[in-house]
Each structure stands twice: as structure tokens, then as C-alpha cells.
Amino acid sequence: MFLIFKRLWQVNWAEQWQYRANLLMYLLYWLVSPIIYLAVWTSIATANGDVKGFTANDFITYYMVLLICDQVTSNIVIHTFGYKIQDGSLSGELIKPIHPMLTNALVNNVAFKILTMFGLTPIWIILFFLFQPDFSSVTLTGILLAIPAMMLAFLIGYFQSAAITALAFWTTRVYSIHEFYFALILLFSGQFVPLPLMPQLIQDIAQYLPFQLMLYYPIQLILGNLSTEQIIQGYVMTGVWLVISWLIFNWVWRKGVKKYSAVGA
């Protein structure tokens, strides 16, 4: 098994490396929104002194950490896998004795992620000097606690996106469904603004959904804003949602593969 992953890694790493120009464009595309939100909210905080207790520096540190968390916990499986089901090129992978979604596609995502991390690092350092955040509340324990939390949150998001991607076995409109899913993330994850500034109703719902585990929770962990109780609660939620997401993915995938009849066959 280890050998399989090693070989998959070599192939996918080489493949991603080949598209590095596209990757830079993707990175630029993906960076702009958080930087704009940062600018908007720091301008509001500076004009009013603070926003419900959030100072300008709180916003700067929030979005600076968000850039990293989002990069770690997001995935691109819909773009790298969806078309394979639609054009039938999945057939070749299905006859291999390994799960296409849990081996090849997963390794491909991780390779993509590590490569974008290389691109993000220098940009992040430049932004650090431009915005001069005060990270004094960050502790080593917070970072160490956030790393496994982010990895598990990545898996939650991966299983969910993979389940949506697998809907391509039935419909050609998976991209529209995924767009809707993306809107849910925007609404409930704390991507637009720290969750306490969202309307009360959204906050109440967000508590129970997995999306805040992908951004808001790890950001707060890193910034050291959580009590021990909240940390445990977050980890329990992560565990529960990981199991649920896995079960959903597994169920959709099994049904889908049975339904699958390749184009041209």
C-alpha cells in the first residue's frame, strides 16, 4: 500500500508541477477575496474604533490566518474528477484494484495543495510586511492543536466534495450543485467575516454545520481565542462530521459506481 501511494505521489507531483503557471493564476484568483474583505473590515474598524469588539488588528490577523487555513482545508476534487465520470475516462481507473477517489484523486489534491503552499508562502510574507499584523496572541499549543484539526477538516470537505462529484453518475449538473455547496461554505464557515459578526440566525445554524470547522474553528485555535471546553467541543464536532461525511460519500459512491455505464461502452 505504501508503495502504491509513493508512486501515485510521484506521478501527481510531476503532473501538478507541469501546470505551475495555471497554479499561480489560481492562487492569485483565490487570494483576492480575503484581501478585499480584510481591507473592507479594517477600514470599518479604523473608522469606528472597533466593530462589536473586533479591532483593526483582529481583522488583519483573522484574514491572514484564514489565507493559510483555507489553503489547507479546501479541495479541488470537483474540477479534477467530475469530468472523468462524464466523459467515461473513469473506466480505466475503475479496473485498478484501488479506490480512485481515495487514492489517486486524494494524492492529486494533496500534491496541488503543497505546491500552492510554496506559491503562497512568499506572498504571505509580503502581505505580512504590508499589513503588519500583531500575532502576539498566537501560541505554539494553538498551532499544534490546529494542525490535526485542519487535516481532519480537509478530509470532511474532501468527502463532501467527493460525494457531490459522484453525483455526476446521475446528473450533468454537478457543477451547479457544487456552486450551491460553495455558497453554503461562504455563508457558514466564517470566510466573509468572523462568525460573531454574522446575523444571529446564521450563527445559530453554523454551530451545528461542518463548515465552521474548516475555517472559523482552526483560525480561532491558532489565534488562541478558545477555552479548553470550546476546543474539546470543536474536536468532537470534527469527529462526528468526519464520520457522517464519510458515510454519505461511501453510500453515494457505491450507488453511483453500480449505476455507471461508461460513455461509448
Partner: protein, 261 residues
């Protein structure tokens, strides 16, 4: 007249093509409404936490959202589909047939693909602009509205011209098929007044990829913040960028030699 007839023909052709995907159109319109809901909610969140954003009220930001959506419609209804077709035609040489036709090639490349259902977005954008202007109170005078329309049009021409230059670069560098992504990447910066951005970001979205020229500047005209000579300058920037773009297009076309030869 000739070009109007051509646009009519292109429209008819594109409507026929899109009629094959009726259900997709419905889904797309629903998604579009969802995003509009999100955009209005996000403005509501911002203004439930502050009175003004960089001195602008919520009405002005709704009008700005309308202008942003105009630019966005231009991107999605014309620029993206035509870029795709253009890049393809450079790679496989089908650009030959475009040049051979007895019409301006820049015109053909601009209008041959139109995402028809996006016209609905145009109407939405205009509704947003009207509502926004109404909400921002009675301080707005007729000349301000006129300069607003004038500068919004000239801003859109600036974006359009930049696009022409970007795709014309493909004549020199065939591999440059990421040409429009950079435009799309910075587009989101047009949602908010550029005046709240840090200086470096303002410089980028005003001078390098001039999204703000099409979004913030017309709104500043609406607010009466621009002096008469500034309005003239921005209007001439629109005219000049169109002339430059046509020049670049023509000299690029001279470099074109077909994919097979």
C-alpha cells in the same frame, strides 16, 4: 447598420444554441439569484456594523453592486466565451476564416459568442443601480446621473479594451492562453469602493488592471466628487484606450500566420 445586422444574426444563432439547454438556463438563473441574495446579505452585514463604508452609504453600495454586475455580465456573457473561441482558433488555425470574412475582425471576435440568458443580469444590474440611486437620497442632481452613465460606459470600454489587448498578445505569444484569468481574478475588487483599499491595492485596481475605473469612478461621479475636468479626463481615457486597443489588434493581426503554415 451593417454591424447591427451582424449582431442580430449572432444573437439569433446564440439563442438557438442556448435553447438546446433550457433546463441549464433555469438552473443558472436560480444560482444567479442565489448570489444576488448573498451579495445583498453581505452588504446588510456590513451596514449592520457600521454607518458608512469609506464615507459611502448603503444606497451607494447597492448602486456600485449594480455597476459591478454590469462589468461582470460583460465578462461572463461576452469576454469568457469569446476568449475561449479565440484561443482555440489561434491554436487550430480557424482564425483564418474569421479574417477572411468581409467585416471587422475585432468586431467578429467580440460578438460571435454571446451567453444569451445573461441579458437577464443586465436588467437586474440596472434595477440595482436605480434602487441604489433612489436610496442614496435626493442629493443627486441630473448632471451627476449623466456623468455617472457616461463614465460607467467609458469604464466598460476601458475593460473591454484591456481584454482586446490581452487576447491580441496571443498573436505574439501563442502560449499565452491564461490571458483573461488575471482580469477575472481582480474583478472582485470592484464590489467595494476602491477608496477603502490600502494604497498598493488601489494602485493595482486603478492603473494596472483598471477594475476601479469601471466601478468606483462612475460612482464617485454620481456622488458629485469629481470635478468637470476629471470627468473629461476619464472620458478621454475610455476613448484613448479603445483607439490603442484597435491599434494593438491590427498590428497583432499582421503577425498572425495561421497554425498550419
Amino acid at each position: 447598420m451593417h454591424s447591427l445586422k451582424l449582431i442580430y444574426a449572432f444573437l439569433k444563432m446564440n439563442i438557438q444554441m442556448s435553447l438546446a439547454y433550457r433546463a441549464d438556463t433555469v438552473v443558472n438563473i436560480l444560482l444567479n439569484l442565489m448570489w444576488l441574495g448573498w451579495e445583498l446579505l453581505s452588504l446588510n452585514i456590513i451596514f449592520s456594523n457600521t454607518q458608512t463604508l469609506g464615507g459611502w452609504g448603503i444606497g451607494e453600495l447597492i448602486a456600485l453592486l449594480g455597476v459591478f454586475r454590469l462589468v461582470n455580465t460583460l465578462m461572463i456573457a461576452l469576454i469568457w466565451p469569446n476568449t475561449e473561441k479565440f484561443n482555440q482558433s489561434i491554436r487550430d488555425g480557424s482564425m483564418d476564416y474569421t479574417i477572411l470574412q468581409p467585416a471587422n475582425s475585432m468586431f467578429l471576435v467580440t460578438f460571435s459568442r454571446i451567453t444569451v440568458w445573461r441579458f437577464w443580469d443586465l436588467i437586474l444590474a440596472i434595477i440595482l443601480i436605480v434602487i441604489g440611486i433612489n436610496m442614496s437620497g435626493d442629493l443627486i442632481t441630473a448632471p451627476q446621473i449623466l456623468t455617472f452613465i457616461l463614465l460607467a460606459l467609458s469604464g466598460i470600454i476601458v475593460i473591454y479594451s484591456l481584454w482586446i489587448v490581452l487576447i491580441a498578445l496571443t498573436f505574439w505569444f501563442t502560449k499565452f492562453d491564461n490571458n483573461v484569468t488575471i482580469l477575472q481574478a481582480l474583478l472582485d475588487a470592484g464590489r467595494y469602493p476602491a477608496t477603502v483599499y490600502p494604497v498598493w491595492l488601489r494602485v493595482i485596481v486603478t492603473f494596472i488592471i483598471p477594475i476601479a475605473v469601471a466601478t468606483t469612478i462612475p460612482l464617485q461621479a454620481l456622488r458629485g466628487e469629481l470635478a468637470f475636468n476629471q470627468v473629461l479626463i476619464f472620458f478621454f481615457i475610455g476613448v484613448a484606450s479603445f483607439i490603442i486597443a484597435s491599434r494593438v489588434w491590427k498590428s497583432g493581426l499582421k503577425r498572425y500566420s495561421g497554425a498550419s503554415s
